[in-house]
């Protein structure tokens, strides 16, 4: 049966990346050699990659009635994402992230969440779940009261219709609202998180114990991202530690979002856990070879996996690599 669409709910942002020689002290100024404007927000990055894997994605979120909002819509539409359910608010502007990057690569971030935080339960129409086979949430939706209410409303809608829910926790939101996250866990089919996050969620230091604790909440799959070390996957019948693929890292922005896209794609399309993990790791790794969040998909990840297969036939994830290559190649 062909998989339906993924509904993503999270922050819709515009990233403003300023390359500066230094962060000035109060009262002083500095000149940026570059200012770049990109589509941002975890779910935006994930949705773009899903679309480029030929997996239809639908977005729920709020933007302002400003040019940044126009930009978000244009970029998502350029990727083919269904933007019909994005709400435009006049009370607040589109979410903006300012990222100052200094020459040693250190990044300092300022986030204005704006319109994102005022998406209301009544902004979510009943038909939003038509044709949807997975709901993907960003952890950021749980840190503002109204948006959080809307997220729980959506979870309840999904439960009534039997649509599975997946969450990419993120560290920052989890640190802010650990209790809310513990309330979300029992509603999840899939949980994508990181090492520190899993420790915060479960109170356990060991990966395996963390996975066991999370699976005990009723999830079908837990993925713990380990950055440059790869990822740990656990499901009720098994577990797997997948090392990262060797790549020349330029910028890790959006790598976790790319990983999520690969994992939920594999899961939705009935890939084995090893193949889902291989695809997720490949997309995550590949995205670090681009500056900013990468617009990558099947056309980039398939040749990448093929070259890994040629160069490292004994790779620990070889079965998953083989399966991903076969299944992606079958896609027209």
């Amino acid at each position: 049966m062909p998989a339906g669409c993924v509904l993503l709910f999270g922050d819709l942002n515009v990233d403003n990346i300023l390359t500066v020689p230094e962060i000035p002290t109060p009262g002083h100024d500095t000149y940026a050699s570059r200012v770049e404007t990109h589509l941002g927000g975890a779910v935006c990055n994930t949705s773009v990659i899903l679309q480029r894997l030929h997996q239809p994605a639908r977005m729920l979120g709020a933007i302002g009635q400003d040019h940044w909002g126009e930009f978000v819509l244009q970029e998502l539409q350029r990727a083919g994402v269904d933007t019909r359910y994005i709400v435009r608010k006049f009370e607040q502007g589109t979410g903006l992230i300012f990222i100052a990057v200094i020459p040693n690569g250190e990044r300092t971030m300022f986030s204005y969440r704006g319109a994102n935080t005022i998406l209301l339960p009544q902004d979510i129409p009943e038909d939003i779940l038509d044709g949807v086979s997975l709901v993907q949430l960003s952890g950021y939706v749980f840190i503002s009261p109204l948006q959080c209410q809307s997220a729980f409303h959506l979870i309840e809608m999904a439960r009534k219709r039997g649509v599975p829910v997946s969450l990419d926790t993120g560290l920052d939101p989890l640190e802010r609202e650990p209790e809310i996250f513990r309330q979300v866990l029992p509603h999840l089919t899939l949980c994508i998180t990181g090492e520190e996050e899993a420790a915060l969620l479960t109170g356990k230091p060991d990966l395996k114990d963390q996975a066991v604790a999370l699976l005990a909440q009723g999830m079908k799959m837990v993925a713990i991202k380990l950055g440059g070390r790869g990822a740990y996957l656990a499901w009720p019948q098994g577990e797997l530690l997948l090392p990262a693929f060797q790549v020349e890292v330029k910028d890790t922005t959006g790598a976790g979002d790319a990983f999520s896209a690969g994992l939920i794609y594999g899961w939705m399309h009935g890939y084995s856990p090893c193949a889902s993990g291989a695809l997720a790791n490949a997309l995550g790794g590949l995205s670090t070879t681009y500056y900013g969040a990468a617009w990558i998909g099947r056309d980039e990840v398939l040749p990448f996996l093929q070259s890994v297969q040629r160069q490292q036939p004994d790779h620990p994830a070889r079965c998953g690599i083989q399966e991903s290559i076969q299944r992606l190649s079958m896609q027209a």
């Binding site: 962060i23 109060p26 009262g27 002083h28 940026a32 200012v35 040019h67």
Partner: protein
Amino acid sequence: MKSFSELTILSLGDLVSDLNVAIQSLPVTHQGHQLVDRVHLEPGGAGNFLLAGARLGCRMIALGVVGDDIYGREMLEVLESEGVKTEDVIRQPDGNTTLVFVLADNHGHHVFLGQVGRGPQVSLQDNWKAALRSADAVHSYGYTLNEERLAPTLLAGMEYALACGKPVFFDPGPHVANVPIETRWQALQRCSAVLLTEEEIPLVVPGGQGLADAPRLFSETVHLVVVKRGSEGSLALSADGRQVEHPGFKVPLVDSTAAGDSFAAAFIASWLQGRPLLDALAIANAMGAAKVQKPGSGRQVPTLAEVRAVLNGTVNI
């Protein structure tokens, strides 16, 4: 006397987008992540001048260059919403808008992260010439001499306006310090009035120290020098040796941003009305004093009613 609404004032260059980001605390911690309560975009630079003139009721025309980007579009939209004419502003698809990110915390500390606009060279095109001819006065900033794509055209535009018999005001601003000396002279040879602060006098008068050297700005073209003195008011010197001083208005200081730009708009408008220099200075000082009582810039420049309130009937506008 002409009313403000009968006057057309053109501002050439210095179109800047100020993005004000209200953060929790400065100094900024490296690698940190702060949530921001508020972000708002305001026209900066000449934008303050244009908005202040529009608030008085003058017809304001913006000429300049922006990138065809979000910052440029948002900024022009704000200007248009206040009645400033922007249709002749060049929007470069392959250029970018001059930007200033102002990070401000709630203790009144600021940090500025800027980007000078870049893009293809622009020339003094026919619609710009027509706009310059349609204006009663032209205002320009030394800051624009830093903008490579526009600097030669700024000079050409000032020269053209002067040749058309238009009064051309020039505000060198502190950033003129980064402009080659010869370029500064070229600007001074192409204006009829200079508006500046005491501190800026050495930047445009060779060997100049301060106020006493202001008359050295007079030339074949420059007939009027206006010195902005902040809370001390302002003074005007004309080439015929007259010197007029206004002490300013004592008001509580909240934020002096954009006070100089607002002052300039009010001075030029009042001067164009043909008012005595002292009245023009009083109105300009009142505009500046009304501004410093308000936080921010852009749409925070004073309204006509706020200027009137400061004047308190001493001069009627």
